[in-house]
Symmetry: C2
Subunit: 401 residues, 2 copies
């Protein structure tokens, strides 16, 4: 049977989503697929028949792709409706026209919802297409997999950046608090990675606040006051998603009007900065790591990059074995080794995996030993990017207007 694949990317970027795309293309080429298509801007692009033929990608282009952050095919944030036969029929008629046998979708929670719905519809209608989800997210919040591609690179960026900030913050002999705000609304995996900045010669960050643990501002003040007894410079790693005891985001309280009458939405870092300044009158600075967490390929984890390629390759193998309605997952064995398997996408879509409370330190503002052991292997190895004129060489993405 002649096989034709189509691949899409969806949701927010990571440093290594294109590495998974490269893995799919590479394996599909090797396994003799006739056409390998890409859909621009995810399922929305497919519905508008914005399609590119990727079959001609050679090894050099695949390597360039693996080293390019964000999404070569562009993305969308679109959830398929529960029921809309016209819409689903249109999608499947386009897939039929292209003679698609295998559909790969690289994304997070919402993207797995797309895989679930399309594979469900195919089953109902008897369409013989394999729908395989390939996970990615810096948040590491997908069920069914040991971790997600993209997380290791984001975690390595956070750890290395927090380490540099620690060195930066320490030079003056004045009391100071430096607050680093890290992504993750509900899952604290990325914030927890700040702990990996520690080594035999330095024990900061001092405080790590995860969204899994209710945040109490008075407890925070006590933590800071206690630390000031023995050190001048305090480093706080805080998740953007910390919540109070009632589950309200702390940064919900942070809105104001500027002199133009516009509403200011500041993050939790800025809020803590102001509260700390009011309370202690010391030097305070907040740093929002922002999108660098999800697009920084220069400091990517080699482990993560390799695994991202591997999971793309394995997705093709799974489809060839007849799997459908599955998300590819990582299984870990000790000493650290990763095998790739399939899990039913129905068990994964639309859920969030957070840090087990048993992995949080008893004091509530640090991580426990098991979480260290879990995180450390994921950030190992550095990537040697190609550079030209002092900046990294990335793929041409001018097709994304």
């Amino acid at each position: 049977m002649k096989r034709n694949a189509i691949i899409g990317q969806s949701g927010g970027p990571t440093a290594v989503i294109n590495a998974s795309l490269a893995g799919v293309i590479k394996e599909a080429k090797e396994r003799g697929f006739h056409h390998i298509y890409g859909m621009f801007n995810g399922i929305q692009g497919l519905m508008n028949e914005k399609i590119i033929d990727l079959s001609a990608f050679d090894d050099e282009k695949l390597r360039g792709l693996a080293y390019t952050p964000a999404m070569y095919l562009g993305s969308c944030r679109y959830k398929l409706p529960e029921k809309d036969d016209d819409l689903y029929d249109r999608v499947f008629s386009i897939l039929k026209k292209l003679e698609i046998t295998d559909f790969f979708y690289i994304g997070g929670n919402d993207s797995m919802d797309t895989v679930m719905k399309l594979s469900g519809y195919a089953q109902k209608k008897g369409a013989d297409i394999h729908f395989i989800g390939i996970p990615k997210t810096i948040d590491n919040d997908l069920f069914g997999t040991d971790h997600t591609p993209g997380f290791g690179s984001a975690a390595k960026f956070v750890a290395g950046t927090v380490l540099e900030v620690i060195y930066d913050s320490r030079i003056y002999k004045v009391k100071s608090v430096t607050i680093v705000e890290i992504m993750g609304r509900n899952a604290g995996w990325l914030t927890a990675s700040a702990a990996l900045a520690r080594s035999a010669v330095q024990d900061r960050p001092d405080l790590i606040y995860l969204p899994e643990v209710p945040f109490d501002i008075n407890r925070y003040y006590e933590d800071i006051a206690e630390l000031f007894k023995t050190r001048n410079n305090i480093i706080v790693a805080v998740s953007e998603g910390i919540k109070d005891e009632d589950g309200h985001f702390i940064d919900e309280k942070r809105t104001a009007k500027d002199v133009f009458g516009n509403t200011i939405h500041g993050g939790v870092g800025k809020l803590l900065e102001e509260l700390t300044l009011s309370r202690f009158g010391c030097k305070v600075r907040s740093i929002e790591l922002n999108v660098l967490q999800r697009c920084n390929i220069r400091n990517a984890s080699l482990t993560d990059l390799k695994e991202a390629v591997l999971i793309g390759e394995e997705a093709v193998r799974a489809a060839l074995k007849g799997e459908t309605g599955k998300m590819m997952v990582f299984k870990r064995s000790a000493p650290y080794q990763i095998d790739v398997a399939c899990a039913d996408v129905n068990d994964i879509a639309n859920q969030e995996k957070t840090i087990p409370l048993s992995w949080v330190a008893p004091n509530g503002h640090d991580i426990g030993a098991e979480l260290y052991d879990y995180l450390t292997p994921l950030i190992q190895g550095e990537v040697a990017l190609p550079y030209e004129n002092g900046v990294p060489v990335f793929m041409d993405i001018r097709h994304l207007i």
Copy 2:
């Protein structure tokens, strides 16, 4: 004559100040200096006799030092008074007690002021000590030198980061403006470096606003509107220090009270974010690169790192030749080659070098060809840092409390 050196660091950090420190120690050791002292927290530490003996640093430690960002000796922000004989006498009695023959001070404008005042006092009192300033600043705003150590690494970080942000911003098919706020209150060198993200395959950032060019918000709106005619995703690089026609900082207008009654000081990036949102109603995001610009060693410029070591070495050679009251400077020749020379510190201290207006593009929101040619050599080459457990290995700085 037995020579004893003392070295201090002062002002804000850069990624490669410790590389200059390593250069001084290395050369002083090779030239047979008896003692090589460091003062903790700059001239303030010296006055309190907080001194460390660095003479035992071997090659391995010197290499580790060169790869450690920020300041191994700690810093201060302290300007010596114009006249206070008691204070100056105290400084010189400490230097005499240590039998110091050569005084090296690594810093920016204010640090050169310290070198100027101490060398002037020494001359007045007939003290035979050589005072040599070694420049550093990410702002690149010192007179008398082609560029400053530390700037190239910051510029490379800005260029690479803006490139990654460009890729990140481009994935969605919706109109968006991404604003990157870059350090530099009065000198736009670092903001200009955002232009180095451009290559044969991508022409962003779209707009670059320097502090040297008066900023007009209506002109900004016109620039954005014009770009939206042909592209969805606009990238703006803006200096934190842009000013209106009357020379007032744009972000002066940006203060507000939050719900706690605290004053919010936002940067110009946040301000432009809100104004752009109000005006265009599109997706807008602002990113403040913050202290990463000055402490990111992972993505340092190899050219910058090597030059920082070299200028430290040359400072020792200059002192041995009898120079005093001098700052070490870079002289450039074409094709790019750097020689190190001395300049009178009186001509350098307390001044700021900004971008010549002839190097700004005629449209006022971009850089000209000469500035490209000036900047490009400074960011060449990548640094292979030592890593352990997935994070860089830096020197132990636990002596900075």
